[in-house]
Symmetry: C2
Subunit: 194 residues, 2 copies
């Protein structure tokens, strides 16, 4: 009888540890999701509001003095930056929706929903990574220029604009790492739970 009690006690303890573990994982998931959401929002806003206007001298005829023209740099002048802002806005909106769903889902009662969230987290990883790649590639050309295709650098003129692009890409990269972490956490948690 005593032995049976001990076994039952052990089982209960194990179950308690399991529940405690599950709760911890759930809180970690919610916290990471919130930060990822905020970082994506910040990246979208930082590049979305990025604008710089400057007086640029343009030489039309080499024998005449250059004409001064007002030129503006905005994110939507380059498709890659537009894609970056849209992708981060999507990641942020999805982050908010998935946060609410995870909160409402309380534990793993609804396996289908939990699985769907992992899948969508994974899609977000791909979307964010491609957006970061696109923005970084165009930003790199803007910074260094490319003599082979004769694309001149523009960051020597629009320095502040370029710096803001770098910050946005960095912030979005942190968001991407958190989304990757969310998928990893889900995979490890699923492995452990059973």
């Amino acid at each position: 009888m005593e032995q049976i009690n001990r076994v039952v006690g052990d089982e209960e303890k194990e179950r308690d540890v399991g529940v405690e573990m599950k709760r911890k994982v759930r809180y970690t998931d919610l916290f990471i999701r919130l930060i990822a959401l905020i970082l994506s929002l910040a990246a979208a806003i930082i590049l979305g509001l990025d604008k710089q206007t400057k007086v640029v001298p343009i030489t039309l005829v080499s024998t005449l003095p250059p004409i001064k023209v007002l030129a503006t740099a905005k994110y939507h002048y380059l498709s890659a930056f537009t894609y970056f802002v849209v992708a981060n806005a999507i990641a942020c909106s999805y982050g908010a929706v998935s946060l609410v769903l995870t909160l409402a889902n309380k534990g793993s009662k609804n396996g289908g929903l939990a699985k769907a969230i992992i899948m969508l987290d994974l899609i977000m990883v791909a979307v964010l990574a491609s957006a970061i790649g696109a923005a970084a590639a165009v930003g790199h050309i803007g910074h260094q220029g490319n003599k082979h295709v004769r694309w001149n650098k523009v960051c020597n003129v629009f320095g502040r604009f370029c710096n803001q692009v770098i910050v946005a890409v960095g912030v979005s990269l942190l968001g991407l790492l958190l989304f990757i972490f969310l998928v990893m956490l889900a995979v490890l948690n699923v492995h452990k739970k059973h």
Copy 2:
């Protein structure tokens, strides 16, 4: 006694279905991994061997006739394309290694290895997606040009080179989708197995 036999029989049948299911998932994983590996290799080769030489007329002084110059387009003239080739080469090499490890791992005896492979598949998704984003963004500017930053299109001159870039990006995108599918399969399989 008969009832016990029936229960044992049902359990055995269930176990058989489980083993059969596991084998099917494993073969699907191996097959998808092989195709993903081949697609990444193809993408790296298609862009890596992409080269076009053309005679380009260049106007130095507007009053003189343009000078004809031999110009070559190669992937490593643009950092984004170099990154694309390297990323696909990495994905292909990883695909080969993970294929061997999955073959050697026979089933899920070594949970740690299986988990590590899912994590690395996930990293490959992020790396491939960023490389595709970078190559597509630069290819888009090469195709359309951008008047805001005065980067002229180059695909009107190097048409064949650009078409080969599009094919490489498309092939790599298929590879990326398969890597995403591999992670999804692992997550769903893990959920089902237990």
